[in-house]
């Protein structure tokens, strides 16, 4: 057995609304959608016309900058058009589903017998290529690269995150292994699977074959693949590593076993404003509305925040919104859009702070209903040492962010920008006294770097 890597820095935010371990099959949504903004750096070019019939696995759009990357329909039905946002940016490609799914056939095959090129070709055609991401930059991988290694995190440590052990038990047992087999063909190095000590017990993870298993313990962000990469085999300048998530591996497995793009995934409906938080089996791109019927604490939508993903990194959505491509979680929390009289003065019992300035420090067992209020205005960096407490990496986050602020690419490289993604520093953003938008700054830095080097 490999040694356990102990993550000491980090923070588990004690939120109310963890999902109960009950799995329900969700009804089919009235509409499904694939959202181009989910895929950072992709500029969509549509491949279907309004009203056209699509099967599950039919291409919907491709990336203008890398035509090989296509996104496909998660269900069969009728393409009903796109929703546009500011500057005519395409936000959603919508499909009205059939009652039963009809699948486009990609042909089943044992990945062990296929060549690397054939595997890549299949992944690209089915649209599942988009599930494979790369570091640096945290974007969809380039199919022409050969990665140093591939990483998969078999546990999610984010606030209210779904239990991947529970999720994997809801899928076929061997499909995950088939998916891993396909991935091992993509790299000359190793496939690393990180599990949680002591919580991971599912045999699909602990007895996975052909991969190197690593054990991690500790608070969030221990489950973030970026933190795991940093501790197992850090990304250097010039390196490329790929990573993906557990449910994508299952989808890849199904692609090779059955020859179809079966976009079924299990998501956790969580958050303090959900009456019965639990797990749902849905198709990729399902609408949030189909899950929350009669299941919210209030019907006043202006006082609720719908998030596809977790509270730290998820994307803001709405009742009529759709579950994001990479998300296995939907969170509903209260909006904090009410002013509070001299709120900074009194120590509030119901407020949570990671610092020791509030009573929450003295009540570690308590769970909180945290709203979306900023709790203060934007300031320059004043307090030091806060970020370091929640970032388990050998990186000086404030210096990295300052390098990004002045757009000094060389300095960013030296300070380790290749190793980070916005999600890894999400906790820094949470704890920040100065309310600095850390995640978008990191993304800005990554974009600048990518532009400079391409």
């Amino acid at each position: 057995m490999s040694k356990t890597i102990r993550i000491r820095k980090g923070l588990n935010i004690p939120l109310k609304g963890e999902a109960e371990k009950i799995l329900t099959n969700a009804d089919r949504s009235a509409t499904y959608a694939v959202k181009p903004p989910d895929f950072h750096g992709i500029v969509p070019k549509m491949l279907v016309k309004d009203g056209e019939r699509v099967k599950a696995g039919s291409p919907l759009f491709y990336n203008k900058y890398d035509e090989k990357i296509i996104l496909t329909s998660p269900v069969s039905g009728q393409f009903t058009g796109i929703a546009r946002g500011e500057k005519r940016r395409i936000l959603e490609a919508r499909i009205e589903p059939d009652v039963e799914d009809e699948y486009l056939d990609f042909g089943s095959a044992d990945p062990k017998t296929l060549s690397r090129d054939k595997i890549i070709e299949k992944l690209l055609a089915s649209g599942l290529w988009a599930t494979i991401m790369q570091r640096p930059y945290s974007v969809i991988a380039n199919s022409e690269d050969i990665p140093k290694s591939i990483f998969i995190s078999a546990f999610d440590s984010a606030p209210l995150a779904p239990d991947l052990d529970f999720i994997i038990n809801g899928h076929d047992e061997h499909t995950f292994q088939t998916g891993l087999d396909a991935l091992t063909r993509l790299t000359n190095g190793k496939v690393h699977l990180s599990i949680n000590e002591p919580n991971t017990i599912s045999k699909s993870f602990t007895h996975a074959k052909g991969v190197e298993i690593h054990r991690f313990s500790g608070p969030h962000p221990a489950g973030n693949v970026g933190i795991q990469i940093h501790h197992i085999d850090p990304v250097n300048m010039g390196d490329i590593v790929w990573y993906t998530d557990v449910q994508s591996v299952v989808m890849i497995g199904k692609l090779f076993e059955k020859g179809i793009y079966d976009s079924t995934k299990i998501i956790a409906l969580t958050g303090s404003e959900v009456l019965k938080p639990r797990y749902w089996r849905v198709k990729q791109g399902a609408s949030i509305e189909s899950l929350i019927k009669n299941n919210l604490t209030t019907e006043d939508m202006s006082s609720l925040r719908f998030i596809s993903g977790n509270v730290l990194t998820g994307s803001k959505s709405k009742r009529e919104g759709f579950i994001g491509f990479y998300d296995s979680q939907v969170t509903v929390i209260p909006e904090g859009n009410k002013p509070e009289f001299v709120g900074w003065l009194f120590p509030k019992i119901n407020k949570y702070s990671a610092s020791r300035t509030l009573f929450s420090y003295l009540m570690p067992w308590k769970k909180y209903r945290i709203d979306t209020n900023m709790h203060g205005g934007n300031r320059a960096f004043v307090i030091s040492g806060q970020y370091e407490k929640v970032l388990p990496m050998d990186i000086y986050p404030v210096y990295l962010i300052k390098a990004i602020m002045i757009n000094d690419i060389e300095l960013m490289e030296k300070l380790g920008i290749y190793e980070v993604a916005p999600e890894d520093l999400a906790l820094c953003e949470f704890v920040c006294t100065s309310k600095i938008e850390v995640q978008s700054l990191i993304r800005e830095g990554l974009d600048a770097l990518q532009k400079e080097l391409s």
Partner: protein, 394 residues
């Protein structure tokens, strides 16, 4: 509360951009956010945020300043009555001290905040909370005898030259409160000489006792009059002539404890300043060339503003070292320098202020080397990886 909210909602539109008082919207904003935590919600990034903010952080520092302030008020009165040979009741000392110190507090805040607001309005930036703390710190490091106009001039100087020309709170290089004091020390040295720290404008019917000097213990030491020092216990309590806030070791430790428990001030820095001071004082004890060098270590910590500097001044997060390792070096050197200046250069017995100002200037350099070490580690790893790749290739 509802009434206040209604009034606020009524007034607010006048301060929107382009409205009648739009030009003063930053000033309004400062008052408004003071009364109400704004209803601003997250738009990008993390959807939830920690309940801590700059206002709360600053208010905690002010809470921590209350013990030394209270002892300072009492002590100011008490020292006066000592000077005229009267044994006062506790409330009498308080009342007398309060009468002297309240105007200093008011002038300090008015002058500093007015400058801050002016800059915020001109530059169209949010007013920073930094001066809430600076304003009180300035009072506590001045003697009760300081003329009020001098407080105002020094504060305006400190806010402009110490802070605003660099871009405001968070960008400044040296601690503005210390800069304010340094301004008075070098501009009007007679007022900070350490010899007339007791209010000597006598009230009617009062007369100075024979042989009264009002010299601070630190000056006594500088003059070599070790035997005239107050007892350790009195220095611990703060019953000695000195500037308003720094006499009482006990009260400062109480505030320091609060800051350390709440995590507002860096315990790393506080401890390393003391470690540096103890190290240097101990070293002098061993060398022991003159009487000054032979002052016991614990007396060094009780004398002058050593403790106050360690707890409240060195820990200013903006001007201190910002890397975890840098904080140890920064704090330790402050301790060492304070004792060094005190003992070797009796021209400036109050060494802690100069030591901190000097280390403020060096803090970015310390951080630079700490960060460089991190960069070097990364480069080493890169080279190792490159060699591995080369070996694999053929």
């Amino acid at each position: 509360m509802k009434v206040i909210k209604n009034i606020r909602d009524k007034i607010r539109p006048h301060f929107y951009k382009g409205a009648r008082f739009g030009r003063f919207r930053r000033a309004w904003e400062a008052f408004d956010t003071f009364l109400f935590v704004p209803e601003k919600t997250t738009t990008k990034g993390s959807h939830i945020r920690d309940a801590i903010d700059m206002k709360r952080t600053m208010v905690y520092v002010i809470i921590a300043l209350i013990p030394p302030l209270l002892v300072g008020i009492w002590n100011t009165g008490y020292q006066y009555y000592q000077a005229v040979g009267i044994e006062p009741a506790i409330w009498e000392s308080f009342a007398f001290g309060f009468m002297l110190i309240l105007p200093i507090i008011i002038v300090s805040y008015l002058s500093g905040l007015a400058t801050e607001f002016l800059f915020a309005v001109i530059h169209d930036k949010e007013v920073n909370e930094g001066f809430l703390v600076t304003g009180m710190l300035v009072v506590l490091i001045l003697p009760a005898t300081v003329p009020l106009w001098m407080v105002a001039v020094a504060n305006i100087f400190a806010v402009i030259i110490g802070k605003e020309i660099f871009g405001g709170t968070g960008m400044n290089i040296v601690n503005p409160a210390l800069l304010s004091r340094a301004f008075i020390l070098f501009g009007y040295p007679a007022y900070l000489s350490g010899e007339v720290y007791t209010y000597t404008r006598l009230q009617e019917g009062h007369q100075l006792v024979d042989g009264y000097s009002g010299v601070t213990p630190l000056s006594l030491v500088a003059e070599g009059k070790m035997e005239a020092l107050p007892s350790d216990f009195n220095m611990f309590l703060g019953n000695m002539p000195g500037v308003i806030g720094e006499t009482s070791f006990a009260a400062i430790m109480l505030g320091g404890l609060f800051l350390a428990i709440t995590g507002v001030a860096s315990l790393r820095i506080i401890i390393s300043v003391f470690a540096g001071g103890i190290f240097m004082a101990g070293l002098f004890n061993i060398i022991a060339l003159n009487e000054y060098m032979m002052i016991p270590v614990h007396q060094h910590l009780l004398l002058g503003a050593f403790a106050f500097g360690a707890v409240y001044m060195a820990t200013d997060p903006v001007t201190a070292s910002q890397t975890p390792h840098g904080k140890y070096i920064y704090g330790f050197l402050i301790g060492v320098l304070t004792i060094l200046i005190r003992v070797v250069n009796p021209g400036f017995p109050g060494g802690v202020m100069l030591a901190i100002l000097m280390m403020n200037v060096f803090a970015p350099l310390i951080d630079h080397y700490v960060v460089q070490a991190n960069i070097k580690r990364r480069m080493k790893r890169l080279r190792k990886a490159q060699i591995n790749v080369k070996e694999k290739k053929p």
